[in-house]
Symmetry: C2
C-alpha cells in the first residue's frame, strides 16, 4: 500500500496494551500510525536510531533529552539517535504518524 | 530543535523554484516540511532509498509505480526504495511533512 487515506480513520491492530498500530515496514524505514489510549506513559527509553513524526489527533506530552513539550495535532517531533525520550497521554486517545529507521 | 509547533505555520526557506522547505537532518533520517506552490510538477524520478510522509495542507496528486492518488490533508504515502514516483499540484499551495532515509 503506497497511500493511506486519512490516517485518523485508518483501521488499526492491537500492538501493545493500550496501543493500536498499523505499519508499513520497508528496508530502512518504518512508517507507523499509532493510537495510544488515555492515561498511558512511557517514562523513557533510548535507541541507536532516529525517530520522528507528527501528532494527527489528540494531545501527548513528549520529552527528548531535557526538552519537554505538549504536542497537539500538526505538531512534529524529531528524536536524535541515542537521545533519551518518552511520552505521556492524558484523558483522551492520541494518534501519531511515526517514522523510524529500521536497523540493518 | 526536537519539536516543531504547528507545521502549517513553521517558517520556511526557499529550497527550489516554487518550493520552500525546512529540514531536520539527522545521521540516517531527514524530516522535511515542504511547501510546494500551485501548478508545479515532478514528472517522476527514483532513488535507492525509501521516502514517506503526510499531507498537512492543500491537495497534491502523487503516483508511485502504477498507483496514482489525489492526496488531501491527513493522507499519508510510502514510497519503496527504487520505486518511480512523482507529483503534481493544482491551484493552491500544498504542505507535506516528508521523511526520507539519508544515504550513509
Amino acid at each position: 500500500m503506497y497511500f493511506w487515506e486519512n490516517v485518523n480513520v485508518v483501521s488499526l491492530q492491537d500492538f501493545r496494551p493500550g496501543i493500536k498500530s498499523r505499519a508499513e515496514i520497508g528496508d530502512r524505514l518504518i512508517m507507523a500510525l499509532m493510537e495510544i489510549g488515555p492515561g498511558k506513559e512511557d517514562p523513557g527509553h533510548e535507541h541507536p536510531f532516529e525517530q520522528c513524526g507528527i501528532v494527527t489527533e489528540g494531545t501527548i506530552e513528549m520529552f527528548v533529552g531535557d526538552q519537554r513539550q505538549l504536542l497537539k495535532p500538526m505538531d512534529a517531533y524529531f528524536i536524535p539517535a541515542g537521545a533519551f525520550h518518552g511520552w505521556k497521554t492524558f484523558g483522551t486517545a492520541v494518534k501519531i504518524l511515526d517514522v523510524s529507521v529500521k536497523q540493518a
